[in-house]
Symmetry: D3
Subunit: 147 residues, 6 copies
């Protein structure tokens, strides 16, 4: 389809929906808490000094736009996120956050360990080993907190 037609239709849909950024924010904040719990809130609060709007975009875009979409359930979404972060291998704090997230939305420990073993096939054994080290830490944190 021609670009102008695509854009005009999007404008019409957005006008009809009347969606505000506040709507997206509230929807995203609820979803973020459901997935990441307190730790997700801490990420947003931790940005308040330096880049509060990046925290807001995480709520509005990542959780208010994307994570609320129909289709994959939250368990599938967290499996995908954990797999991506483990494969990239350069985002340890976010991997830990989403290992908690995966457990929060219904993955169990054994399933996560299995998926991290699978990382070895596609991103190499070092990526799998380092992701398992993150998982060990996350599992221990939850044991201490009695989750």
């Amino acid at each position: 389809m021609e670009a102008n037609a695509v854009v005009r239709r999007m404008e019409q849909q957005l006008e009809a929906s009347g969606e505000t950024t506040l709507d997206r924010f509230r929807r995203g904040w609820a979803r973020l808490q459901e997935v990441d719990g307190e730790a997700g809130a801490r990420v947003v609060a931790g940005l308040a000094d330096l880049a509060p709007d990046l925290g807001r975009y995480i709520i509005e875009f990542a959780f208010g736009d994307v994570y609320v979409r129909p289709g994959p359930d939250l368990r599938s979404r967290e499996i995908a996120t954990v797999a991506m972060l483990a494969a990239l291998g350069n985002a340890r704090p976010q991997l830990e956050l989403h290992l908690h997230g995966a457990l929060n939305v219904g993955c169990d420990r054994d399933e996560i360990v299995e998926l991290l073993i699978q990382v070895a096939i596609y991103a190499g054994f070092p990526a799998a080993l380092n992701a398992l080290a993150a998982a060990r830490k996350v599992f221990a944190e939850r044991k201490v907190r009695g989750v």
Copy 2:
């Protein structure tokens, strides 16, 4: 646990199991066909000239050891693999293969598109866009073949 004790126990278990490489190969070949169909077989056949044993390791290790493990179902495994390959962004042929794989084991098109949109959050919009281009090609191939 001390390394020698760990290793000794593994040896005892392997001795008890009597598992042969042929067992692993047959198990892996069945699983590879289930996940990747003909396209997976083509990868193995395509290695026959240069590195047949790498094809054999894909069958034996990736599919005969890992993809047969209990825990995540094949749908979850393929979601993780597609997510990893999309995020890494440097493995287009394998991404296409596993987009077929994901569809073969029960993911539907919409779900895959949703997960590729989610790639934008963790690996950036270019990675998501390029993965969607791979998905467009795979969906078209399947339409032609009437799958």
Copy 3:
């Protein structure tokens, strides 16, 4: 600051602003055209079949939220983007798009070539060489179009 206080303040600001997604969309569409011209519109149109909302998020989030923020001028933003895509080395279509973008917002060819030479220091000579190959193509396209 405590997370709930941060979030409450954001809600109040969003409520006061009354910003709608349509506002963001219009702002982003104008900015996208300014930076990427027709080629940016083609990316959005090209997503209409498969993932129209990803095109919408590029407009709303990338251009309507981020590229309109105060601070760095568009030239600085495009220098950063070209540098990132050249260094990552796995996003050729997007690198070409933003090489056009950089030229659209006031970078000249020599300056871009200089920055791509600098890529060799931080991401290696192959990344620099491949980015220069993209630049050669983009410069030729613009010559043909008489830009």
Copy 4:
């Protein structure tokens, strides 16, 4: 060659060889100790709580299948591994392990330093600098242990 023919021939060879997983495990364990010494054993033991089979796959596949193959000597293999891990830049623990490995199988310190300098050409100066920091730590550990 056609896939089924390739697979049938592999099955016949595996049947003829009678190789068991225990054979691979023993071969791999010997090779792992030769290359990585005690530190390699610690990696396997460290996985015993969470993912013992990943440790087993390192022994069986990485060392029992691949590192025992004819062709490159162990020195060449460790040069390749150190170079890969230095270039990827996101696998520090494994880089340290294989810097020890390279020294264990006959590389000398000067040669390793030279190869890490070469990393700057292909993966950038930061990758080379961070790999040299890993090498400095490994050299110091060996001095303390009098190796």
Copy 5:
């Protein structure tokens, strides 16, 4: 142009210029100090034990050849470097060094924060978040030192 002709012309130009490695070294050392200040000097000094020539190449090639070239001013060069290192996400010490560098050559804190927010679009939110954590540390160091 044919390779031999290109090479012959380069030789003639170098012969005419009479440039020595000492010229490049002095030029580079001045530029390195201008950009990275004391911290750059520390990188070079820190290599003196293990790979002094890598420190020399940073001075001669990175700063004596590349950073002195005409075209982009130092502010643009540091914007590009910070963006690359933030996007790659595996070079934290060098990112910190160049965040100092960017501030040394005229970027202000707000501008850097804005560019790091932009990283989220092209390399994902984790890369942006981790780069902002580096920026927080660098800003605090400068506050302590009263810069």
Copy 6:
């Protein structure tokens, strides 16, 4: 050692050596031809239109400074380079060039295939498969040329 002392000593050594950029260029050009043959010359010539100095830096720095250093022989250097480029997975033209290079300086085909199989352990099977595809092409090119 203190930075100023390190730098002063380097200056003295460079002054004593009297090395010119022309010396480095000639040394590097000879080494580049030895390693990469005609294909290396083509890379330099191909940069003559857009970034001739990047071609010059490849000759002067990569080959005139680094590849001429004592220590690893050229075979070891090319093993490291091929391994790095295969693991990074985003530098296909340079991987092909250095596969030729490795064969030019004494690696044989079987040895290269073995090392590319090993890539699967550290960077995943997709990286190994894609590097083998590059090797297949390079081996065929050499067969045609009768090398």
